[in-house]
Symmetry: C2
């Protein structure tokens, strides 16, 4: 199953790759993802995060599920001031993220935390952008726990909300169920104006109202 027609996806990917950014660190991070088959958001979604950050001008971005810092790199690059909090349950991932951020000269824009994303994220209030990329089974729980910690017109950005197309299957496992519950909440609770951007595995954008 695919989300976007492969020819169209290639067209968008080629255009995205032809845009000039400080490519060295990005390419290193992308190569590493290929080597170990790590599920980073990829260049297409990275650029999207960059654009949303430039528009939102956040003081505080909190990531739930940072891996080794690929998405956080895009947030940090787009920040005027303020910081991005990286959270991952693996020390190894956070250590790598620190190294990449040091090479990129972005350490002053980041805070690094190791542990349970739900427990740690709760410590932060007035979050301008909350980025969800933690274990899929925790998506619905995550928004319920965190929504009161968003700033007045805070933005939620969640990756993998189409879950490789599984959200449209009749029979769903617990992970898919949690993602579907999350999506429905973001559209139907009356607390957010949301849309899904069908790039890569689907990115939900939800503005707190």
């Amino acid at each position: 199953m695919f989300i976007v027609s492969p020819d169209i996806e290639r067209y968008i990917q080629n255009l995205t790759e032809s845009m000039s950014f400080d490519n060295d660190i990005l390419l290193q991070m992308e190569d590493y993802a290929k080597q170990i088959n790590f599920p980073i958001v990829g260049r297409q979604v990275g650029v999207l995060l960059y654009i949303f950050t430039k528009l939102k001008k956040p003081k505080l971005v909190v990531e739930m599920g940072s891996g080794y810092g690929y998405s956080a790199y895009w947030f940090a690059k787009a920040l005027d001031d303020g910081k991005v909090v990286l959270i991952d349950f693996q020390q190894k991932n956070i250590d790598m993220a620190k190294q990449y951020f040091e090479k990129a000269g972005l350490l002053d824009k980041a805070e690094f935390r190791v542990g349970d994303a739900l427990e740690i994220a709760k410590e932060y209030k007035n979050i301008d952008i909350l980025f969800l990329d933690l274990e899929k089974i925790k998506y619905f729980e995550a928004i319920k726990v965190m929504e009161e910690n968003l700033s007045k017109d805070g933005l939620v950005i969640a990756d993998n909300v189409l879950w490789y197309g599984n959200v449209v299957l009749e029979e769903t496992d617990r992970k898919t169920k949690a993602i579907k519950d999350f999506n429905e909440y973001m559209f139907r609770s009356g607390k957010f104006v949301s849309q899904i951007v069908p790039l890569r595995d689907g990115v939900l954008i939800g503005l707190r109202i």
Copy 2:
């Protein structure tokens, strides 16, 4: 040819329609589009325009190609202050837009212009959001003429940039060529950070840098 897998598109459409907005005028405008087969951006893209407008907080939105005001409705609903300029070459479309805006209580947020979109749009400077939905053959010309009229970090939003998938065909007609030239310029000129959101017929988002 399709852009997003039909099952996924339906999933996103159902979620989008389940979100509560002031639905009366929207439904009237959407019904009218169906009756006369008018190419409005539709609910999915409408919500996207709303979110981008809430994030950008523009003083001035200029639409090149407004039809009878469906996209402008979404911009106007999301404006805190400021206005949206509707431009269409058909008096009849602009008259209808005025009627819908009056019913929706949005007249004070809009300016209505009839004539050539390129000629009229040029009159406006410091445009915070420029929305392109004019004749496709004019897309590349439109951005070249208008880019200097954008505000410092102005946002370009262009509809139909995947042109029903025609952008990936080897043989292209003049309209498709103009759209492809536009897309390449938005990604490669170094003047914008851009991404394509593959909802409906493709929406390009380009942030002036």
